[in-house]
Amino acid sequence: MKKSLICLSCPVGCRLEAVPDGKNDWEVSGNQCPRGVVYARNELTDPRRIVTAVVRSDSELLPFIPVRTDRPLPRRMAARLLNELYRMQIKTPVKCGEVLIKDFDQTGVNIVFSSNSNN
């Protein structure tokens, strides 16, 4: 089955087309440089995204504290992570960069606070 993508490796934004090569990989065309091939393969086999959200806290100044994944998370796992985050209630103080969840679902991805709770 043919897939169409826009390469996000640089501002050129090549329109890529990918078809399965029959060997569990993709044949990529439309790219003007080798990065397009890598981009398309990653997007089609293991798309990952930085996920950000807010979690409830006991702070009056910042009742919802922003958090992020410290590296891209497999895209299909975003909903599960968000569900978990929305249930949480955090005790402050916390520091920007402090780990909230270590190694989420054995992905090697940590969830960290992206703000201090006090300034």
Binding site: I6, V54, L82, S115, N119
Partner: protein
């Protein structure tokens, strides 16, 4: 009882521009007070919890709050004073050329601050439904994208249960993903232009990832509902005119408007600062000084930037201008700068001959190859080939020129 405080520099607004400027002024030995009406420094960065900030200024990809924390800590470490939860309601110029600011705060009451120089760094306001004259009833559930972003990311409130977004700028696209991730389905993003106005990255990661339909060359032509929004009507545009026979309805209870920003210059106007209609910001020389001596401007209050990084860099340049001014530097001699073909505006509006100056432009055309030319006394004195010109992306260049009016033209090479 009114407190009276004195400083060298008063910075109005603790966002990306004000904090960078405050850090620089303080690091250069000036007593600096940065004033902001919010209880947390960082401005709009605080509610932009997504990543993509700081790649240029901090050489690292940060979220908005991370950028805010870093730049706030830098300003404090440099010795700047932060006055938060405080609103500047008046500024007046004193006979000796200094300024007196009237500041209101719940904690300190009414206070006065005297400063030898002022930096305007108040940022922008969002354009709203009224600015684009969207017809329909006036129910609850109509928000600007930034207001909804603040509700979701800072107040922890959901604006509704299903949404349509008007405008495909980056703020609108980011909000499409945020709403989806908060369990609010986005039925459509409606854009009047033939191309999305936001970055391709955001089109892919905020719309395609969630199969959100993007209606290009369409306008929202009606909003329905009495107490609460019940839906909108969208119609395709032909030569910019909506086609009523092809209009269709989209049910939703929330409409977000992401239709551009306007520099917030109420205080600037009270001070007598002259505004450039093309930017909505002050007219400035190359030190970013406005027409009122001692008053400088930087960041989104001067012109709307694509990136927080650029606003910070401009704040820092304004700080250099302030240092120069307070050290008795002469008012720049001021040859005029004009934005010509295919450019909406140029900043600054004047420059000094023989001084390297940074210029920013907003292009009016989209093309993959173009040339930017500087013309003086009827002949081209400088030119630069450029790639991937988009109205959504500001152009920044450095140029040193001799005496005479400078005219910039942007020409497509396609």
């Amino acid at each position: 009882m009114i407190n009276l405080q004195t400083c060298d520099v008063a910075v109005i607004g603790a966002g990306a521009a004000g904090l960078a400027a405050g850090a620089e002024c303080a690091a250069r030995g000036l007593s600096t007070v940065i004033i902001d009406r919010e209880p947390l420094a960082g401005g709009i960065l605080r509610q932009c919890i997504h990543n993509g900030f700081g790649v240029q200024y901090f050489k690292e990809e940060l979220t908005g709050p991370e950028y805010a924390v870093r730049i706030t800590e830098a300003a404090l470490a440099a010795g700047a004073e932060l006055k938060l939860d405080a609103t500047v309601s008046e500024i007046k110029r004193l006979p000796d050329g200094a300024f007196e600011l009237l500041i209101l705060s719940a904690k300190d009451g009414v206070s006065r601050l005297t400063a030898r120089a002022v930096l305007l760094a108040m940022g922008c306001r969002e354009r709203n439904r009224g600015n684009i004259a969207t017809p329909g009833t006036r129910p609850a559930g109509v928000f600007t994208a930034g207001a909804a972003q603040r509700l979701l990311n800072m107040e922890g409130m959901l604006p509704g249960t299903s949404a349509v977004i008007v405008g495909s700028g980056d703020i609108g696209l980011i909000m499409a993903r945020r709403l989806t991730w908060c369990g609010i389905p986005v039925k459509a993003v409606v854009e009047i232009m033939p191309e999305p106005s936001g970055l391709p990255r955001n089109v892919v990661q905020c719309l395609h990832d969630f199969d959100i339909p993007l209606y290009l060359e369409h306008a929202v032509t009606n909003i329905f509902g009495r107490e609460r929004v019940e839906g909108v009507e969208a119609a395709p545009l032909k030569n910019g005119v909506p086609q009523p026979d092809q209009a269709f309805r989209i049910d939703c209870d929330t409409v977000l408007f992401s239709v551009g920003l306007l520099p917030e210059n109420e205080l600037s106007c009270k001070l007598g600062v002259e505004i450039n209609p093309a930017t909505g910001g002050a007219i400035v020389d190359e030190t970013l000084q406005t027409g009122v001596p001692g008053v400088f401007a930087g960041g989104n209050v001067l012109h709307v930037h694509d990136l927080a990084d650029f606003a910070s860099a401009e704040g820092k340049r304004a700080a250099n201008g302030i240092v120069r001014y307070l050290n008795g530097g002469q008012k720049p001699s001021g040859c005029r700068v004009t934005a010509g073909a295919n450019l909406k505006y140029a900043v600054p509006n004047s420059f000094s001959p023989g001084t390297k100056t940074e210029f920013s432009f907003r292009p009016l055309i989209a093309c993959d190859r173009a040339v930017l030319e500087a013309e003086q006394n009827g002949s081209v004195i400088w030119r630069k080939d450029l790639k991937f010109i988009r109205p959504a992306e500001m152009l920044n260049i450095e140029l040193e020129a001799g005496a005479g009016e400078l005219l910039f033209n942007l020409r497509s090479k396609e």
